[in-house]
């Protein structure tokens, strides 16, 4: 990787790493006796590790100038590997935290393993670690291919990728030692947030600069989704994390918002994190890799534009549906509910557009597990957006809110949509990036697919059952007008479902481990004749003959 950088690039890379290492050292010094000091040391170690890596390759011969006539894919390759590593780590913690609900003793009496700490470890690792790396890796790939232009230079993509992973490491390590600002999906404290803003601005600039260099006159729709993802996440992140630290030597900070304003800001952030991080970015992925893999253009390009603007502008207003029956003014709740329902139109337009693209290529869906991942993702996208609109209705929400139904809904989206489209795109991308004829084993992809699907279905059904039972028990009154069940009664009723969901999650985890192994072996297997063919695009569009489960 360092061999691909010019001498000047290597110097800049070294300078940035040393600068970040010094920042880490300063933080470690001023933060003695506070968790921020521990984070200072983590930053120092990480940055020193990167600089040693650069130094090790510093005297390698300069790369050929002809590299500028090709796309720059090294950051994408590293991003794919990091995404899979985070997936396995985050899903392992997911299974653990699920098991904890069924068997509370599994904390082993360790403070860092308590539910409140490992739950954000799970959510941050899968959403930001896995999802974020998959988005960064694929966005660099899609951006270059659809613009027909190489990334503007070679340092900033590395800064974005490695800086983003440093942010994830700070976030996750912070939860173990008790650092959190207690905002869901925005737990990291002020210093991590400021660093992420820098990384994110550089990310957006890469996008803009590459688009400026584009040779293709029209900006393909996938790029619009990726750009909405980057831009809106920046806005959300900055506003929701406005806070004043106790001092520069303390991790703790106090939010600028309080009371119902704080709640509204948090859920404006929280719901749009779902909308722009977990939806818009992955729709960008879908609009590129699904037509590419199916070998068919998107069913309706016009529909994709209309759904883009629909999703972008309507999601912004939907966040207040998280605060039904609270101190939030009634009309704001109604506004959120109304927009959530209208959102079904652009959401289903996207899902329908994807499925209609496959119309005529169903034999490929049958034979090719990679494409099937994408197809199932589109189906789950349609299902969970319908469910989301439905749950946003105030009356439905009175049953579903605070129950496991919400958890089931999130996982239908996260496992069924986000993870499935990512795995499909990564399986399409890996042979392409490493110039292999195909993945190491198509049988393992098949296994991964069925494990992932079975795991998702088991998980979601368990949580639907559990959530509705919970919701009904909490609102059942007896003749004297008091609650018929205590909270503990409902907890006992949940037990079998918690075991089932742990099992579903375990299946999903095993699938991801098989996928990681398959990707690793694909990378390690010797390059085929394709490497010499040079710039041939995606070599494997005609997949191996059918490999049906049960055959």
């Amino acid at each position: 990787m360092v061999a691909g950088l010019s001498r000047g690039d290597r110097q800049v890379a070294l300078a940035i790493s040393i600068l970040i290492a010094l920042c880490g050292l300063a933080l470690a010094a001023v933060g003695r006796g506070d968790p921020i000091g521990t984070h200072g040391f983590i930053i120092l170690l990480y940055a020193l590790g990167v600089s040693f890596f650069v130094i090790a390759g510093y005297y390698a011969p300069e790369p050929d100038i002809s590299r500028l006539l090709r796309y720059y894919d090294d950051p994408t390759k590293v991003g794919i590997v990091l995404a899979m590593a985070w997936a396995v780590f985050g899903l392992t913690f997911g299974v653990w935290v699920a098991a904890l609900l069924a068997w509370p003793d599994l904390t082993f009496d360790a403070g860092w393993a308590s539910f409140g700490r490992i739950r954000p470890v799970h959510t941050t690792s899968v959403i930001f670690g896995f999802g974020g790396n998959a988005l960064i890796a694929t966005s660099f790939h899609v951006l270059q291919r659809t613009s027909r232009a190489r990334l503007p230079e070679q340092i900033s993509p590395w800064f974005v990728l490695l800086g983003y992973n440093l942010f994830c490491i700070i976030a996750v390590s912070g939860y173990f030692i008790g650092v959190t600002q207690s905002k869901e999906y925005a737990e990291p404290e002020w210093y991590a947030d400021i660093f992420l803003v820098v990384v994110w601005v550089v990310y957006f600039l890469i996008y803009i600069r590459t688009l400026q260099r584009r040779k293709e006159p029209h900006i393909y729709v996938a790029n619009w989704y990726y750009m909405a993802f980057i831009l809106v996440v920046a806005v959300l992140h900055i506003v929701n994390n406005l806070a004043v630290p106790v001092s520069f030597g303390h991790a703790k900070s106090y939010s600028l918002f309080s009371g119902v304003q704080d709640a509204m800001t948090q859920w404006w952030y929280g719901h749009n994190a779902v909308a722009f991080f977990l939806t818009a970015g992955f729709l960008g992925m879908m609009y590129y890799y699904l037509p590419k893999r199916a070998g068919r253009p998107i069913f309706s390009y016009r529909l994709s534009i209309i759904s883009f603007w629909g999703i972008t502008f309507m999601y912004m207003w939907a966040g207040s549906h998280h605060l039904h029956y609270t101190a939030l003014p009634q009309w704001v709740q109604t506004l959120g509910m109304t927009f959530s329902i209208v959102l079904l139109v652009p959401s289903w337009a996207s899902a329908g557009n994807a499925l209609a693209t496959l119309n005529g290529a169903w034999h490929k869906v049958r034979d090719d597990a990679t494409l099937r991942f994408m197809m199932v993702a589109a189906v789950f996208y349609g299902l969970s957006t319908f469910e989301g609109s439905f749950m946003a209705i105030r009356a439905v929400n009175s049953l579903s809110h605070y129950t496991d139904w919400t958890v089931g809904h999130v996982h239908a989206g996260a496992l069924g949509w986000v993870a499935m489209i990512s795995f499909g795109s990564i399986y399409a991308l890996v042979p392409w990036m490493w110039k292999r004829e195909r993945m190491y084993s198509s049988k393992l992809i098949e296994w991964h697919f069925w494990l992932a699907l079975a795991g998702t279905v088991v998980y979601v059904f368990a949580m639907w059952n559990s959530g509705i039972i919970q919701g009904l028990m909490w609102r059942t009154y007896n003749e004297s007008g008091t609650l018929a069940y205590s909270f503990v009664d409902s907890l006992v009723a949940m037990h079998p479902y918690y075991i089932a969901r742990t099992f579903g999650g375990l299946l999903f985890l095993i699938g991801a481990i098989l996928g990681s192994y398959n990707i690793w072996m694909t990378i390690r297997q010797p390059g085929t004749a394709l490497a010499s063919q040079g710039e041939a695009d995606e070599p494997h569009l005609a997949p191996q003959p059918a490999l049906q489960a049960g055959e």
Binding site: L69, Q144, R150, K215, V221, P297, E535, D537, E538
Partner: protein
């Protein structure tokens, strides 16, 4: 005008509506403008090219 709760609500309930309607009309006009069709058709087919090199 005082920037109190009532006036913010009045502003968002009126202008919020108008700008979203204007935006929807704008998007629909852009999408269905006959001249744009060629560009869209080309864009959706272009990604299927087998060529994997930047254009220079």
């Amino acid at each position: 005008m005082d920037l109190d709760y009532q006036s913010v609500v009045a502003f968002s309930k009126s202008w919020g509506l108008f700008y979203l309607i204007a935006l929807s009309i704008g998007v629909l006009v852009y999408t269905f403008w006959p001249k744009n069709k060629k560009g869209f058709d080309q864009a959706k087919k272009s990604i299927l090219d087998k060529d994997d090199k930047p254009w220079n």
